[in-house]
Amino acid sequence: MLETSIAGLRLKHPVMNASGILGSEPEHLEILAKQGFSALVSKTITLNPREGYPPPIIVELRNNGLLNAVGLANPGARVIPVLARKARELSKPLILSIGGSSVEEFVKLAELASEAGVDAVELNLSCPHAEGYGLELGSDPMLVYRIVKDVVSVASLPVIAKLGLTDRVIESAGKALEAGVKALTLINTVKAMSIDVYTLKPVLSNKYGGLSGPPIHPIAVRVVYDVYREYRAEIIGVGGVSSWMDVAELMLAGARAVQVGTALIWNENIVDEILSGLHKWLIDLGYNSLMDLVGIAVM
């Protein structure tokens, strides 16, 4: 009933973890696998190790949102085969998120991912707080086209592009599809800030960060809807999912799968809760396959 397929991967159900909440070490994958995701997504891996920003890197906000500027901290490309081996051991498909500041870096990482035998790569073209590594790339449709084109030409595995909220997200999505991605992940965090009203300073060491969690869910629904309406593309919906209803909304807007990030922090049973909610929803509606509901709100 809940089976889905995305970018050629056949999945038991539509719920994966979102990149960056854990996922840079094999032990992290073990923790994530225990929560029941149908596929595991790594933290964004760059060619060289990155320390990331000094703390504070994460702020839990009063409005149930989360603000982060981790700065793409990760152990670098050497961890790719380690993560691939661990995912096989856990019998979970692995989507490797990769990030770079140049076309060459993306290409090199995609080659390493292919060699390591991961199941797909997700190009992070949307981090709002790592300068030169994210949102600047995704907001330039021609650059999106070049990165995707070159990666697709060397990678022997499905390529997914992850795009964030920009004025040109629909155009960028179109260029990514034209250049050969199998699916799009929409959206990343939304650039934001939090200021302490007594110390009178922004809390994050990087000042700016990315907003995630429930406050961005309606934005994600809107972007998925618009991109699906335009291209009928395969979409992984992400942003503020904290219940089955949030998943249902994203699927009605056109997503064939979803990712959950921030909600993991507050709820360890989120996957099971979503799955039983979706199951009941299908029965209530009289459907026998979740896939039949993908995009049906889109007119």
């Binding site: 923790i31 000094p54 504070p56 989360l66 901290a73 993991l264 922090i265």
Partner: protein, 256 residues
């Protein structure tokens, strides 16, 4: 959760240890569990993980040891504002035990005080073995926060042999346990990793349940960044800890 906060009290306890009282400037903050911790943000300087040494009416006490630039800045902050994130960790509620022996090394004593307060409310007794390197690091635990019960026994060890037992806390603990068979049904060790490792191996044949309060790099406190993972175990200090049973984290203790 992030809270603005204000330093309301500051006290030098010994050569290296300081007590700070911090008022959280927000209503409705939930009382922490023993061994939960907070991240203290000194703007522009650092974010420091700190055990809760006491809590009442929205005011937290922490014990700060002078080590780097960050802790020095926090110690110097006498009446200013700061940020507090927390409370993090699963905490530990050892209320099914009768009598607990808390083995502390240096500033690892901090969570003892809050545990003692809560244990007293629950009818559980806690005794303390506290070891420090030099006698000038000592203060009197009984007079500090008024959380220590009258029936609590306190054993002191110094490595410079200037006070109490001459040697390490783990050695003293091992001795008092052998002199008092059957007295304690739970040991909790808190302090540097060397101490935790020694306690876990020295006391493994006593039949007493052994737990340790771990320390590692904590950058976010909420289970997202992964910096606090106790390799090679799939366990996060900030989410599943910081207190673990010795035998559940053997690989981590060996590695450190």
């Amino acid at each position: 959760m992030y809270y603005p906060a204000k330093i309301t009290g500051s006290e030098k306890l010994s050569k290296t240890l300081y007590l700070k009282r911090i008022k959280i400037l927000s209503d409705g903050i939930k009382e922490p569990l023993p061994f939960q911790f907070l991240l203290a943000w000194v703007p522009g300087v650092d974010l420091l993980p700190m055990s809760v040494a006491d809590f009442s009416n929205g005011e937290v006490a922490i014990i700060v040891k002078e080590r780097g630039e960050g802790s020095r800045a926090l110690i110097r902050l006498h009446s200013g504002f700061l940020g507090v994130m927390g409370f993090y960790g699963a905490g530990f509620k050892p209320w099914s035990y009768k009598r607990i022996l808390f083995i502390a090394g240096g500033s690892g004593i901090a969570p003892f005080f809050y545990l003692a307060r809560k244990a007293c409310e629950e009818g559980v007794s806690v005794d303390l073995v506290w070891g420090v390197r030099g006698g000038d690091e000592l203060f009197n635990p009984r007079s500090l926060l008024n959380t220590v019960n009258k029936d609590t026994e306190i054993y002191i060890a110094t490595e410079d042999c200037s006070a109490g037992y001459c040697g390490r806390a783990s050695m003293l603990a091992s001795r008092v346990i052998h002199e008092n068979p059957g007295k304690w049904d739970l040991v909790i060790a808190s302090g540097p990793q060397g101490l935790l490792r020694e306690v876990c191996s020295l006391l493994s044949d006593t039949g007493i349940e052994l737990y340790v309060n771990t320390e590692t790099l904590v950058k976010c406190g909420v289970g997202a960044c992964g910096s606090c993972v106790l390799k090679p175990h799939p366990l996060l200090l900030c989410k599943h800890g910081p207190v673990f049973r010795c035998r559940d984290i053997e690989g981590f203790l060996k590695g450190g």
